[in-house]
Symmetry: C2
Subunit: 80 residues, 2 copies
């Protein structure tokens, strides 16, 4: 059971890294690029579990370890 977790900064949290990349893209000619936000993509293999178990585990793992829920939000996809 493959899964993908997406961890991003909450909208209210400034993203200086994203800003820097946005400016760099503007500088090399992509003036239309705005509001760049950087997050984490975590891919993993969960072995022989049901979709429900996978989703339960992913939520727990995000809350406990993968995301800092004070400043980050998360979402995930179970790919089967």
């Amino acid at each position: 059971m493959k899964a993908k977790v997406y961890v991003t900064l909450k909208k209210s949290i400034a993203d200086p890294q994203g800003n820097a990349i946005g400016k760099a893209l503007n500088k090399i000619g992509y003036d239309n690029v705005e509001d760049v936000r950087i997050g984490k993509l975590i891919e993993t293999e969960l072995g022989e579990v049901t979709k429900e178990t996978a989703e339960k585990q992913l939520k727990e793992m995000c809350e406990k370890l993968l995301a800092n829920t004070v400043i980050e939000q998360y979402s995930f996809e179970v790919l089967g």
Copy 2:
């Protein structure tokens, strides 16, 4: 035009960060977790462009700046 870019290490490249997170998850009870790989999620706004232009720009931006194509691979989604 919103877009998401996913940048991950090529399969042939070791991912010590992913390994460390995988071991940490095993330690807190998720023994079924294997092969954790960490990548970047880049979200951005591309303004008033066509889907074709957005896809062309995203490919160029990945090749030029967002991905180190020696060790990384990329994919992207134009969300409209």
